[in-house]
């Protein structure tokens, strides 16, 4: 079986600035990939290219066997995408927004109602179903974005900072949810929270200045430093080490 996510030599340049430089990886069903890197390393741009929102300068990305540039609609059907900041239409109600995305995904009638109900239940949003999104707190808004990504039970999930802005309880719930969904899907999450990677990810890629600098299991990565802490490894790999340059 082909990998659910297949990225080959993905590169994005904005003018003379290379945001993503020749990134390649593939992800199978059952894998949860933690996408790590300092701010501005190219995580969001890579995820946007995977979602077909940013056109790559070169290289290819495919979701469930569909190239995101050549067959964008087929690729997006297989994809649940939570964009950075989880944007949603402020004036729409939670239920209205989810019904809108469900209609675009081709659901009608009872199938639509049950999909929306399932997504609301999965993200525990039933209580705010009739509230306009703009009246919700940051954590709720993020869950609305998550509900939208999960609504059609896609084989591939790409989540850009899914737990950003959530309180510790909500973070725990989202991690539990990701773990529960993991066996049936290929999931990519980007995060700054390294403990999250150790908690939910089966694999971690560290990206710095647009390049993949490490690709391993979280445990193997952590073992690279004598302290056994992922944080130290992350710092050692991605920190520009100015002192070393001076010496």
């Amino acid at each position: 079986m082909a990998a659910l996510i297949e990225i080959v030599g993905l590169t994005k340049r904005f003018g003379s600035f290379t945001a993503v430089d020749n990134v390649s990886f593939s992800l199978d069903k059952g894998e949860v990939l933690g996408f790590l890197g300092p701010n501005g390393a190219g995580k969001t741009t890579t995820m946007r290219m995977l979602a077909g929102f940013v056109t790559p300068t070169s290289g290819t990305a495919a979701i469930a066997g569909h190239d995101v540039e050549a067959e964008p609609v087929a690729a997006r059907r297989a994809l649940g995408f939570l964009p950075e900041g989880a944007p949603t239409y402020p004036e729409m109600t939670v239920g209205g927004f989810l019904r809108f995305t469900a209609r675009i995904r081709g659901y009608r009638g009872t199938a639509l109602a049950s999909r929306v109900a399932a997504a609301l239940a999965l993200t525990e949003l039933e209580g705010v179903r009739l509230q306009p999104v703009e009246t919700l707190s940051k954590g709720f808004k993020r869950r609305v974005g998550l509900a939208q990504a999960l609504l059609h039970d896609p084989p591939v999930l790409v989540l850009d900072e899914p737990t950003d802005g959530l309180d510790p309880n909500q973070k725990h719930e989202v991690r539990t949810l990701i773990r529960r969904l993991a066996p049936e899907k290929a999931i990519v999450i980007s995060t700054h929270i390294l403990e999250e990677v150790e908690a939910v990810c089966t694999r971690a890629i560290i990206i710095a200045a647009g390049r993949v600098v490490a690709d391993d299991t979280p445990a193997a990565l952590a073992a690279r430093d004598p302290s056994g802490r992922l944080e130290e490894v992350f710092r050692a790999i991605t920190h520009p080490a100015p002192l070393a340059k001076v010496a």
């Binding site: 964009p83 729409m92 995904r105």
Partner: protein, 243 residues
């Protein structure tokens, strides 16, 4: 095509979920009423027709239509929701046409709410209602043309203010391109462009339609004008969506 209507429905509901719809419709009706009755001397003319109403209509649209379209894409980009919309399984063309149709439907609703003018003039005399119907059709076409221009300018920027000003400016060019001040100038300097400019004059074509002269070439003009700007809209959205 089904997705187009899903997008249109959401967009149209969006107008009514915010004060945009109410403010727009009230201002449109007040402006159109004042201009027709006061500036247009509706009563003292002593003629049972809606000529003053239709004389002012394109100018009111020129000012107000870009106010409807300015949010279409600029707002999506500012809020980041464009990233949600365009990563759903729908083609960009469907999104562009859906948004345009919603704005057009909204304009048609506003235009339909001017029905008291028609009633008034029918009570006061016996106007040629065929000509009035042609005028309304012309109004629908002009609003469509301005909406297509405004929608494309909205896709060019994140700022609604810039989208509005650009929209008004672009619509103004197509509004006045048949006016003597423009055609005389072109006649003197670039005679080739003079007849082309006249051909692109939205208002001159509208005037002919609102007098009851509905020709196929005008319909073709409006259809291709709208088609061109929507095509440009798709290109701009595709090119600039992530910037």
């Amino acid at each position: 095509m089904r997705n187009t209507f899903v997008v249109a429905r959401r967009e149209l509901a969006g107008y009514f979920a915010t004060p945009v719809a109410a403010v727009f419709i009230v201002i449109f009706l007040v402006l159109q009423g004042m201009l027709t009755f006061n500036a247009g001397a509706f009563f003292s003319r002593g003629q049972a027709d809606l000529v003053p109403f239709f004389d002012f209509l394109p100018w009111v649209f020129l000012l107000l239509v870009p106010a409807i379209t300015m949010r279409l894409w600029a707002e999506e980009r500012r809020l980041g929701t464009i990233e949600v919309l365009l990563t759903l399984p729908l083609a960009e063309t469907e999104a562009v046409i859906g948004k345009f149709l919603a704005a057009w439907a909204f304009c048609i609703i506003a235009l339909a709410l001017t029905f008291p003018f028609v009633i008034t003039v029918n009570i006061l005399g016996s106007p040629d209602n065929g000509v009035i119907a042609a005028g309304y059709l012309g109004g629908v076409l002009v609003s469509g043309a301005f909406l297509a221009v405004g929608s494309a300018t909205s896709a060019m920027t994140k700022s609604q203010v810039i989208a509005f000003v650009l929209g008004v400016a672009m619509c103004f060019i197509f509004a006045v391109s048949g006016y003597p001040v423009v055609t005389d100038f072109l006649n003197r300097n670039l005679p080739v462009l003079s007849s082309i400019a006249r051909g692109f004059s939205v208002i001159e074509r509208f005037r002919a339609i609102s007098q009851g002269f509905l020709s196929l070439s005008d319909i073709v003009f409006f259809a291709s004008f709208i088609g061109f700007w929507l095509f440009l809209n798709v290109v701009v959205v595709d090119h600039r969506k992530a910037s």
